[in-house]
Subunit: 257 residues, 2 copies
DNA sequence: GCGATCAGCGGCACG
DNA sequence: CGTGCCGTTGATCGC
């Protein structure tokens, strides 16, 4: 019957496409279940399945950027279930053990597209880039500040920039490309304490970010850390540091003279 | 000429589709540039553009789950640039101000698909669910432990579960659905200290997770926190707590008798 | 709207 | 491999 034929035809196309490493698009009414790190069921509805050359599976609804169900680097099997009158596409993965089953009850569209190897995205304005820029001249942060090491690995975490100020105090610097949040502060606090107890030297902590929220600022002050407003601009080939506004922590307000 | 005609035809289809809220798929050779929170350029190559009903734009290559370029909730404009012989699709957003330009030099495929409103995914095994399960009977964690409040909001953070032990000590509990990492420990540490200094009472901190890494365990011990191995299983409608293995922090090894 | 956290986070880089 | 952390994080929920 025509109904089954469509699914059988689709199966052939899908098998071929997945095998070839092409980009595959399937659109139709489906039910999806997943079991693995978590579990989920997605009620029957029309969706798009996108299978890429690297065996990543993504089921998209008509909203949101991210797929509603997915699996990457999986091995696939396509089976025509004549009982359920469905074409079942399963993606399996171990480590962690996960499985996703897609039951297509009817298929509106199947096509695969030849797409050459991926090109590299040239991105600018990443934290890495800002960090590198800062490293080149830490004196914009504070006179006499000199960089010791980038990406200093601690036993429990990684410091963005390790430096030393003019008074030979150690300075732990954490760079954020966006508004500093509680997490940033907790990171810096943890790093600073590790360094202080490890080196037995007076140690300061500075967070560099374009802005910082009020609760984060309060936590920062409570921990005796410092904040430096870091303004930057992103243009064509790379980002550029625009301005730096030192704003020492008020240290519980003791500094008001 | 035929070349332009194809792009012109595509423009019509794309305009209509974006206006209608359908799911739109465009495949062709394109160059992409983005400027906003960061900036990027993607060299010419064949890709898929996916535009959803909620005006989310995603440019996919043939690898990876996530799009190489994207923008959500944008306003779009489609322009035929006869100078550059390209169809330019631009997505614009304010707050934050962002722009993405997609230059299609030729188009292999354009189609839009009617897809009804999204259905809800029923997910089980989330942290929220595990937390709720624990709340129902904290005694599995420790005899005499009683829950005080769920999602207790602090000035600087949110506590998963606030409880009290048999000795009337406050107990801050942080639940993780996967292996506890440094971040989890730093969170719990921060919460515990806030509670202790706020209430002026002896306060304990317990992290519940299926596993914990070695560095995280060390940090946990350094902070005087405790770890509880939380085993759970996910089956059909919901997750279920399988077992709990208490594993008190060794507190610098002082407990070895 | 901002704030905080989770996510089946994914992806990357380094040990 | 695991560990740590960034991400144009996105997505959710509460204030």
């Amino acid at each position: 019957m025509a109904f089954h034929m469509a699914l059988a035809e689709a199966k052939t196309k899908i098998d071929e496409s997945i095998n070839s490493g092409k980009m595959l698009i399937v659109i139709g009414e489906c039910f999806v279940q997943y079991q693995g790190r978590a579990g989920s069921k997605l009620p029957k509805g029309k969706r798009m399945l996108l299978v890429k050359g690297d065996k990543s599976f993504a089921i998209h609804q008509n909203t949101k950027l991210r797929p509603i169900n997915y699996m990457m680097n999986a091995s696939a099997s396509v089976v025509l279930d004549s009982e359920k009158k469905a074409l079942v596409i399963s993606a399996l993965k171990r480590k962690p053990k996960e499985k996703i089953d897609i039951f297509f009850y009817n298929i509106d569209f199947v096509e695969s597209f030849e797409i050459e190897g991926e090109k590299e995205l040239r991105l600018f304005g990443s934290e890495r880039e800002l960090s590198d820029l800062l490293m080149q001249d830490l004196s914009v942060l504070e006179k006499g500040l000199v960089a010791l090491k980038k990406e200093q690995i601690l036993r429990k975490g990684i410091i963005d920039i390790m430096a030393e100020d003019k008074d030979k105090n150690l300075v732990v610097i954490e760079v954020k490309r966006r508004r500093a949040d509680l997490n940033s502060i907790r990171q810096l606090h943890s790093y600073m304490h590790q360094v202080a107890s490890l080196k037995g030297r007076k140690t300061r902590g500075i967070i560099c970010a374009p802005s910082i929220g009020k609760p984060s600022m309060e936590l920062l002050e409570k921990y005796g850390l410092e904040y430096c407003k870091l303004d930057y601009e992103i243009h064509n080939p790379r980002a550029e540091i625009k301005g730096l506004e030192k704003k020492q922590s008020t240290l519980f307000g003791l500094e008001k003279k």
